[in-house]
Amino acid sequence: MNVSTSPLHIRPEIIRDQQATDVPAVEKALTPFERIYRIGFVRKAALLIALAVIWETYGRWLGNPLLFPTFTATIEAFWENLANGVIPARALSSIQTLLIGYGIGIALASILTTVAIGSQIGTDLLETLTSMFNPLPAIALLPLALIWFGLGQGSVIFVLVHSVLWAIALNTHSGFRSVSNTLRMVGMNYNLRGLRLVGKILIPAAFPSILTGLKVGWAFAWRTLIAAELVFGVSSGSGGLGWFIFENRNQLETANVFAGLFTVIMIGLFVENVIFAAIERNTVQRWGMQS
């Protein structure tokens, strides 16, 4: 073949026997500041401190503890109520009510989804019920609950169940439906049928969705609980955190109101970032199933 007529540009091969010795370091340590800045926790803590400073400055500048107590006054009120056992008792009462409602909600959701995966009409039932009740704010049911269950824990639990049930049922059901057909076939290959197939294959396979449902349900329940307690918190004398906030507002103890809100936030953050995060780390993240 004639080289001059080839469309290719012919050029010699390149082979390097010697590699450069003066290359820059392949790996270089970051400066301490860079390393600290990379930790998300540190960045968020810095933001929180900045917000606290702004709060304190504004509170002092306003000089009206009835309207807007300073950060230090709030913390003081918080410690005081923590030490004399008022906040722990109220928080405990709130959490107790919440767990009962949450538990009943989970149980009802499992029954509903079990019915739903069993048949088409069950699925239709679940879909109809969730689309009807999911948009209905739990608080809107409170007047009805008062008529049915009277003033007390029963009514709060009723609205709690309503707020938890639909979120969990919806997520669990969609989780079951998204389980791959291959996994179902694998389970059947092991002679698993009916409830054993649900328990040993479907529930773990749908666990990412179920966990999402539990988290959403928890968040709904926590908000609903505080709101419901604000309306009527006195159940069997003690009352929960919502009642604590309401009570202190009536007595114009604004610092205590802030302390109550602070507790609500802290408990919410704890459950979200410690309890659920730990469950997530040990299950879906470990299994590489994060949805």
Binding site: T182, M185, P204, A205, F207
Partner: protein, 255 residues
Amino acid sequence: MTLPAQSAPLLDVDGVTLQYKTRDALVTATYRVSFEVHRSDRFILLGPSGCGKSTLLKAIGGYMSPVEGAIRLKGREVKAPGPDRMMVFQEFDQLLPWKSVIENVVFALEASGRSSGREAMDKARHYVDMVGLSKFADSYPHTLSGGMKQRVAIARGMAMEPDVLLMDEPFAALDALTRRKMQDELLQLWEDTKFTVLFVTHSIEEAIRCGTRILLLSPHPGQVRAELNSLTAEEVGTASQVALEARINDMLFAH
């Protein structure tokens, strides 16, 4: 090797017609397909897409029943899925992601009641070892490569010691190099335990390398075109492989 028991087929597929419904049609996947699989066969179902080979394997697995004909394993009609016919699927998601490699095998043994406790653990270790994954026994499936996942699925299938191992294009989703390696490993495993395997593929080359007997299916609907003997290990790679490939090619794509 000519025991009287040997003469009865292990798996008897007798005039099987399979149909399934899609959204707007009733599809006949196979029409009156018959064949026999004997003990220690490496029986290949080969054909182009649409010949119903995967559907046929699902029916043998017990996931669907024939509208005509019968499938018998050791003389008993197949009615439902069971651990005497272990499936190895093409999909990588056939392992339970919430269980480690060893737990996947142990769970299969315990859930099906094949064995339990210490015995299941020992058996699982043995088979995980056989597919060369002892180092990864405690790893979760999502940390494994595709080839390793398929090895676990094969180990799981073999640990159950089924009458027949059903493999549905198990290497189709792997890259060419891994695929070749897995074929050799499968043959090595077969040399060691002489298990019976029914293997679905659409690759003529894979059929010849892996099979002792090859069933050719023609498409739409799947019907038996031929049942051929494959080559011995020594003949693979020689002119006879080229000849057999050409023969199969002609039969499948002649018209």
